[in-house]
Amino acid sequence: MTLVYLDSSVLVAIALGDPRGAQALAIVGSRDSCTSALSPIECQAGLSFQYTTAPGGLPAAEQALDAILDRMQIIQLTFSVLVHARTLVRRHRSGIGLRTLDAIHVASCGEVRAEVGAGAIEYITSDRRQHVAFTSEGFSGAFLL
C-alpha cells in the first residue's frame, strides 16, 4: 500500500481545519502517512505566525498538530537523509533553485522510496516550489492550491 508524505504546509491546513486540509485527508484516505522530523518545527513557525495577534488560540492549534503527528510516521533526519539532501541541492540549485529545507523534505521522501520501493510513496503539499522539487525527482503527488 502507498505511503503518503505530507509536508508542513499541508499539516497546518489539517490542524486548523482549512479546506486544503480536508482535501489532503480525502487523498490520504485509509493509507499510512509520514512526514519529516523537520515538519513540527516548520509547523510551529506557521502556527505561531497565524496566532500572532490572537495568541489565545495557539494552544488548541498546537494540540491539534500534536494529535496529527501522533498518527504519522516521523522520518528522522538521519545522516543518509542529509547526504541525500546535499546531493539534491547540488543537482537542482541552479535549475529550479532548490533550497535547503525543500531538499530535506524531498530527501526524506527519497530515502523512504529507497526502502519501500518506487511508486510506494506519494506526496501532498500546498507549496508550489516544494511541488516542483518533488516532481523534479520523479515523485507523484498532489499540489493543493
Binding site: 500500500m1 505511503l3 508542513s8 504546509s9 497546518v12 491546513a13 489539517i14 490542524a15 486548523l16 481545519g17 482549512d18 479546506p19 486544503r20 486540509g21 485527508l25 490520504v28 484516505g29 485509509s30 493509507r31 499510512d32 502517512s33 509520514c34 516548520e42 509547523c43 513557525a45 506557521g46 502556527l47 505561531s48 505566525f49 497565524q50 488560540g57 488548541a60 492549534a61 491539534a64 494529535a67 496529527i68 501522533d70 498518527r71 504519522m72 510516521q73 516521523i74 522520518i75 528522522q76 538521519t78 543518509s80 537523509v81 533550497r99 529545507l101 525543500d102 530515502e111 523512504v112 526502502e115 519501500v116 510506494a120 500546498s126 507549496d127 516550489r129 516544494q130
Partner: protein, 96 residues
Amino acid sequence: MRSYKKLSVGVKELKDRASEIIALVQRTGQAVSITKNHQEVARIMPVPADAHERLIAAGLVQPGPKPGPLSQLKLKPLASDASPAIGAIVRDRREK
C-alpha cells in the same frame, strides 16, 4: 519466546555456502554473523516485509508500533483559512 542459537560463519564458509546461508536467513528471519579471525565483522539480516518495519530497520523511523491512520482522527475546525500559517512556512523556506 522462541530462542535461537546464534548463527555465525567464517568468510570462506560464506563464499562456499552463500545461497544456502541467504535461504536460511529468509526462511528463519534470523541474522547470520560473518566472522573473520573469530571476530564478528558483518551480519546478513532479513529484510522485513512490512514497510513500517523496513523504515525502522533502516533507522528512518523510531522503533514502536505503527501509528493509526489519520482518517480516524476527529479535529474541531479552528480557522477556515490557514494561509497565514502556510505563508509563514513558505517564507521560512525561501527568505534570503
